[in-house]
Symmetry: C2
Subunit: 414 residues, 2 copies
Amino acid sequence: MQPDIKLAETLFDTLDRATRQGRGIVRDSFGDGEQAAHDIMRATAQTLRLEISVDAIGNLMMTLPGRDRRLPRIIIGSHLDSSPQSGNFDGAAGVVAGVCILSALKSAGKQLDCDVTVMAIRAEESSWFNVSYLGSGGAFGLLDPACLAITRSDNGRSLEATLLERGFDPSPIREGRALLDPSRIRAYLELHIEQGPTLVAQALPAAVVTGIRGCKRFRNARCIGQYAHSGAVNRPQRHDAVAATVALLHHLETLWQQYEQQGADLTITFGELYTDAAFHAPSKIAGETHFVIDIRSVSQEIMDAVAEEARRAAARIAATFRVSFKLGATSDSPPAVMDERLRAGFRAQLQTPFEMPSGAGHDAAVFAKMGIPTGMIFVRNENGSHNPDEAMSLDDFDTAARALLGLLLNFPLP
Amino acid sequence: MQPDIKLAETLFDTLDRATRQGRGIVRDSFGDGEQAAHDIMRATAQTLRLEISVDAIGNLMMTLPGRDRRLPRIIIGSHLDSSPQSGNFDGAAGVVAGVCILSALKSAGKQLDCDVTVMAIRAEESSWFNVSYLGSGGAFGLLDPACLAITRSDNGRSLEATLLERGFDPSPIREGRALLDPSRIRAYLELHIEQGPTLVAQALPAAVVTGIRGCKRFRNARCIGQYAHSGAVNRPQRHDAVAATVALLHHLETLWQQYEQQGADLTITFGELYTDAAFHAPSKIAGETHFVIDIRSVSQEIMDAVAEEARRAAARIAATFRVSFKLGATSDSPPAVMDERLRAGFRAQLQTPFEMPSGAGHDAAVFAKMGIPTGMIFVRNENGSHNPDEAMSLDDFDTAARALLGLLLNFPLP
């Protein structure tokens, strides 16, 4: 038995035509672009005669009933929204994989012991409402009710107003009420494009995900020194914000290399770093910098240790350079560990088993956090994600979707 | 004999009232603010019955004739323009010092062997036309004629149009024609506020300047990497522009410390450093940085060596970090050495002789470049310059002006 790759091809084409705006894909969370994708998947599910339901906040469930409907179900899920001017595959590939697997099972007249539900999850991206996992987090009653007041980055409409306009019900979010019962979910499986270059570098079509890196981030770190003339003030009298910031970031880069040599999982990134354009000048010592320290790992302990060392180093360097650092509080999203048996099951399905952590966050992290056995498989993808140049080949998708179908048919969990 | 400090006090007050706009002083080069200052100085020179002339591009010469008018003259000079929202003393202090010294000589009926000219120089600051030393450089025919097309930063008017509106003649600049003959200038002397904190730190009212640091600057340096997801790309696959830039700047900071330990005169400053706000994000590896490397020293050899090492280090680091650096060409202003005999003469006039280099550029550098024996004295000033908080005390000014008068009366040059 093989996934229905013809259907997958058609679905990718249809999604592309419906949601491409200029160069890139726009499937705005809870907006017209995401809704168009949901409509396409729902129509397909109707054609396949799957059971269809939509929860209060818009997550679409497409179910192939099992032999014993009292058993907890398996969910195959991913999201249908995209960041602005994105590619066609980030998120959608996982939903398409689920549907073309159910199509194959249906065609073969094959029924599993339990229900298998493909869940098209709402609003995973944070680009529109500045909160990740609105769909999966909302399904488990995990969202801070205050998020209903958050406004969409482009049109300024609140999440609450947006949900109501779309015909959904914000009250479960307001009341922290769960729409899914974790004890009724046997496992959660997600296929997703890799958002980095590892599989391209490894020349492999797919990888089993070991865990999803958490993120500990100093989002609004600053160094405060004093502006002065670059030629007129010698080192001992300087309060040079750039020199101090360079010293701190260099120290953290060196620290990362040390962790790396020990084989620890870690990334440290300073993706925003800037002097103040209203005050800086070629002949001035800079009096202020702004920067981000983004720390990621599958290990919470490592992230905590790096953040702690960042604070200690900032204090030392501030004294040396006569400046002050205001690193601020960290924003934290914890790492998620994938289920060992599901990992082994996926490995057994791949010709060249290869495992790697996921650096980016996924809905799978929410399911894992709820204690649900969770497994993920990555598909090779050129050119990263969140840009129009995403490039997943249908062959690589096929390899990963086959592994997902094989796992279902040889399910390793009780 | 003492400088006419009462006159100095009146002149500082009058200049302040005429050119303060809001918190700061505005004496725009070739604009109304600078002209107001020239009018005040000219009226004072008339009252003192000095000889007055204005050259083709607006430099004001106020001369006390000497006993032998065939002898080359001594010029006491500085500029009357200011950067926007500046203080009252940067530039003007040197012209006021000259005038209150000539007032003292006149009152005492004292005549030197040669003419002494106070030169109120035009347009030293680069804030308005983005070229330094328009007045002194123009007087020696040193300007690139193309500078006539440069437009004023605030009103967009060209230098040529501005000169014509003010009744001046751009043709000497266009033809590279000199208005002053260096062989007819015995010496150039300049009193200026210190633009750094050294004299405040040393608790001294004045210092003799050893030389004016040159500046070798990579004005538009860039590092080009590749934007990518911060969590999804490990170090070996990164093209991280910030990490590479930090490595380069850290290397140069370390190099500076080595020069410093050897007692070499040097500053290295990265006053502008930024990722591109249109593309950077907290969860992105930065694909590009922009920065300035500003190298200053009284030694051309040291500046050249540092720039050379910056290029070598950039090549090494680019290879390590899989990025490219585009440092671009340097813009160069050479250092100027002050005359040894004038330095000794100034030192002899100070109770606590103290010498230091000037980090900022001054008109004195242009005169020194022309081979004219040049001497400078700094006055202590709190809070740096080019801001409304400049704070020179009249007592410190008096100390430096007395030294200048004493030097004239005991002139060490033939």
